[in-house]
């Protein structure tokens, strides 16, 4: 049971039209999420994490964005070809999403209660009273006190952490199969971050909702995820279990990310950082996209496109270092 994928993304390609050309922001990305699993998607800003998640919801602003290829299978149903009307039934009901900015993700002019019941009214066809009851239950579930009062309050009367709890309650109110959390803790204080993460983990177990945790923070990944995919410049560069990624990283980019984590044991000196920036989508067309920033890049990296090579069971790396019969570890 644990290994049935609820969401299966296959060779997803999302492009943006700009300057007369098509710029791929997500390029040939494949992954699957199993029932009740927490999958992390990690990468720097601009690597295509958010575009991937918005593609799954089919909420890419169109134009200029467009899903140009691949499949997104939700329990076998392809969402890429699904009509907008069908997508409306899926959004909030089967796949829900929470966002980075709890400050701005709630409408400032409507009460919390108003916004909470919306999804229930749309999908569950409840009457207003039972919708409010159920919404109040959800607020209790996410650990908010004085639920009745909060229902009548406006977003600006709540703190950031409370708002994110409200967002989570809202997203989970229809018991979706998949929850996409796009940097859910980035805008919060560290102590609140930990609370929100443990809440999400808790709810994942209680409600058996699969979670796609999109983050740039490897700490978050270590805390809650079971499997991880690392994205770079629109491509998956490494995938594996949390143990694979942390104990035995394969891609120089992943290694760089891990090295740039501060160490609590207090090593002195400057914190490591990967030189350079994520290239703008569409600027690198041949070779490994990370080659320009890679310490171990060789000639081949600039001319040939690496594939995802198997490094272990369920552990794959897009780097010639792991090409069978190719360059090996020294």
């Amino acid at each position: 049971m644990a290994n049935t994928p609820v969401l299966d993304v296959k060779q997803l390609k999302t492009s943006f039209l700009a300057d007369g050309g098509e710029i791929p922001a997500v390029d040939d990305v494949s992954f699957s999420v199993n029932k009740g699993e927490i999958l992390g998607i990690v990468g720097e800003s601009g690597c295509g994490k958010s575009v991937t998640s918005l593609s799954i919801m089919k909420l890419i602003p169109q134009p200029p964005g467009k899903i140009v290829g691949g499949e997104i299978l939700l329990n076998g149903e392809n969402l890429v070809t699904a009509a907008e009307k069908r997508m409306r039934k899926i959004r909030g009901n089967d796949i829900a999403m929470i966002f980075q900015e709890p400050m701005t993700s709630l409408n400032p002019l409507f009460t919390i209660g108003d916004q909470l019941v919306e999804a229930l009214l749309i999908h569950k066809k409840l009457d207003k009273r039972s919708a409010r009851q159920q919404a109040a239950e959800m607020l209790k579930l996410v650990g908010l006190p004085r639920v009745e009062k909060i229902m009548k309050e406006y977003p600006h009367q709540l703190s950031g952490g409370m708002r994110q709890r409200v967002m989570i309650a809202m997203a989970l109110s229809c018991h979706p199969k998949v929850l996409i959390a796009d940097e859910p803790t980035t805008a919060l204080d560290v102590t609140i971050q930990a609370q929100i993460l443990s809440l999400m983990k808790d709810l994942n177990e209680k409600l058996d909702t699969a979670i796609i945790m999109i983050t740039h923070d490897l700490g978050v990944v270590a805390e809650v995820c079971q499997r991880v995919i690392v994205m770079y410049a629109g491509k998956v560069v490494e995938e594996g279990t949390v143990e694979d990624i942390f104990n035995n990283p394969g891609h120089p980019y992943t290694i760089g990310l891990l090295k740039s984590l501060p160490d609590i044991r207090g090593k002195k000196g400057r914190l490591y950082s990967i030189p350079g920036n994520v290239p703008r989508p569409g600027t690198i067309t041949v070779g490994c996209r990370f080659a320009a920033r890679c310490e171990r890049a060789v000639e081949k990296c600039l001319t040939d496109n690496p594939e995802l090579y198997r490094k272990g069971e369920n552990h794959h790396v897009r780097c010639f270092l792991h090409e069978p019969g190719g360059m090996s570890h020294e």
């Binding site: 909030g92 701005t104 997203a171």
Partner: protein, 334 residues
């Protein structure tokens, strides 16, 4: 909120005081003597002087001004030099006519303008968007007198659908109670007259609505476009809400405040600035009342008329400010 309103109303006192002073001098700067105008070109100097004296116009300006001010403080708007009747009684039918016209013009402007703005924003860069925005540009640029004349030519003269001018049929006058004819005919159950009154309203109201409509459409469009980029719009869509509800519930309420500001200012302008429309359509409104008073150099009518319009203008904007707090829970007046 009550304290705030009271404070706002008190803050009007210096504004109105300053205004009364400016108007008082400005109209006296217009060449022409009221007594001369009233008596005509052929009147003798003595007769003019005598009338001036009896009207109190021979007094020094400060005496005249403070007499006028004293009257205002006791709620007396003065007396018309021409008709000799109290302005506070005389002015209401004109004001009512203008209010009725402005109300309908604003209704048309808001309903059409807001929806055109919303649809333009929703289908940004579509043919509808382009057409609506070009029309809006035309709407603010077209001279009202020309538009009014064209309306009369097409709908009254050629098609004979609607009357050219006035508020009512001369042979079938409305029995005025409130002087708001739509309400008068309604409370008297005269639906036949109501239809007549509404028919008279259409052309001037449409002519008057064009400028506010165009401004409202443009403001609505740009505000909705901005709001639609907000995170909470994405949240609403992620819930599975349809675009219609996202636009009309979540984004419209957020776009209301700038639109409301424009509506308030435009309503104020309509109440005072409908002179052109009122002249073309022979609408017996406050604009024409003051316009005619200028012709007769009827100083008290001009002074008080402008003061009343100014008072209404600031009151409308006070109401708009109070409405902000009703719409946006983050706005609190103390």
């Amino acid at each position: 909120m009550l304290a705030y309103s009271v404070r706002r109303i008190f803050s009007l006192v210096p504004v109105l005081l300053g205004l009364s002073l400016v108007v008082f001098f400005m109209i006296r700067a217009i060449p022409g003597d009221p007594a001369q105008v009233i008596l005509g070109q052929l009147a003798t100097k003595d007769a003019v002087a005598e009338l001036s004296k009896s009207l109190g116009l021979d007094q020094p300006w400060y005496v005249q001004y403070f007499q006028y001010l004293g009257g205002l403080l006791s709620g007396d708007l003065g007396e018309s030099l021409r008709t000799k009747s109290a302005i506070s009684e005389e002015i209401w039918p004109y004001l009512a006519a203008t209010m009725e016209l402005s109300f309908f013009a604003m209704m048309i402007a808001i309903v059409v303008g807001v929806n055109a703005g919303i649809i333009s924003a929703w289908f940004q860069n579509s043919w509808f968007d382009y057409t609506a925005m070009i029309l809006a540009l035309v709407g603010v640029s077209v001279p009202i007198f020309w538009l009014g004349l064209m309306e009369q030519w097409v709908f009254s003269y050629n098609l004979e659908w609607l009357p050219t001018s006035g508020r009512e049929e001369v042979r079938n006058p409305v029995n005025a109670i409130t002087h708001l004819y739509v309400i008068d005919t309604l409370i008297q159950g005269r639906t036949d007259q109501l239809v007549v009154v509404l028919k008279h309203l259409v052309l001037p109201a449409v002519a008057l609505s064009t400028i506010p409509m165009a401004i409202i459409a443009r403001i609505t469009r740009s505000t909705i476009l901005e709001v639609m980029r907000s995170d909470f719009i994405r949240t609403a869509r992620a819930k599975g809400m349809s675009m219609f509800w996202v636009v009309y519930k979540h984004s419209l309420k957020n776009a209301v405040i700038p639109v409301l500001t424009v509506i308030g200012l435009q309503t104020g302008l309509l109440l005072g600035g409908a002179i052109l429309t009122e002249t073309i359509f022979s609408w017996p409104g406050i604009g024409r009342y003051i316009y005619e008073a200028i012709g007769y150099r009827d100083y008290p009518v001009i002074q008080s008329g402008i003061l009343v319009i100014a008072l209404i203008f600031v009151m409308i904007n006070l109401i708009v400010d109070l409405l902000y707090a009703a719409i946006d829970p983050r706005i609190k007046y103390r």
